[in-house]
Symmetry: C2
Subunit: 111 residues, 2 copies
DNA sequence: ACAATAGTGAAGTAGTTACTTCAGTATCGA
DNA sequence: TCGATACTGAAGTAACTACTTCACTATTGT
């Protein structure tokens, strides 16, 4: 579920926008209402709600409405999934370099 | 340099596209030429070159031309920067949850 | 020298994205 | 109950993105 390619797609797409990353950054410091999220951003509330919907669809953020206030919070598992994708690729590359290094060291021994 | 917000922007934007992630995935298994990168993708060579340019501008991929072959390889430091951004936010959130848990445990003791 | 290979670059286009404004609906607080 | 608050939703638009095709250049193998 976490590694569903379609979900991964939505997550990276969501993180591609600076305003949305700013929102995630804000939420990493604790839950916030829509207006609180909007406050530091130079755009209309409507625009913020649209960004929020993208974040929610991607699974990176979960929201909950109580009365007239929608409270938003980060979904750390989703962040972990994106992190994991990058990490796997980087590690694959680095392991490859290590093997290459070992190989070169060995062939040097054989001189 | 690694944490330059503009560079981070380019990186996440680059990772947002599935074709580009597929290219990064391929490159994580070792260097490849443009045609090798293009081979599994259902699009023209020109389109692949355009994606490659995005990846290169983002710093995620470095390329080097020898003769008529452009060889592409992953830049693990750039991947690490993206990874790091996500990790920091997730950890901030999780530390917050821990502190909250401690607080709740303490106030429970005080009954 | 010549054909095949490997990639480059420009122009065009359909679809998407990131906004805007404006008009609306709940909910809350005095 | 009535005004202020906190969103919500639709419609429009300008800019951007992910392609395409086609014409082109440089390099390589025979």
């Amino acid at each position: 579920m976490l590694h569903d390619p379609a979900q991964l797609d939505l997550m990276f797409q969501a993180l591609a926008d600076p305003a949305r990353r700013q929102m995630v950054d804000r939420l990493s410091r604790g839950p916030a209402s829509v207006s609180q999220l909007a406050e530091p951003l130079a755009m209309s509330l409507s625009a913020v709600v649209q960004h929020l919907n993208v974040l929610e669809a991607s699974g990176l953020v979960r929201t909950e409405k109580l009365g007239r206030v929608r409270t938003c919070r980060i979904e750390p598992q989703a962040l972990r999934a994106a992190e994991h994708w990058i990490n796997e690729r980087r590690l694959a590359w680095e392991r490859r370099l290590d093997r290459l290094g070992d190989f070169l060291a060995e062939t040097k021994d054989e001189t």
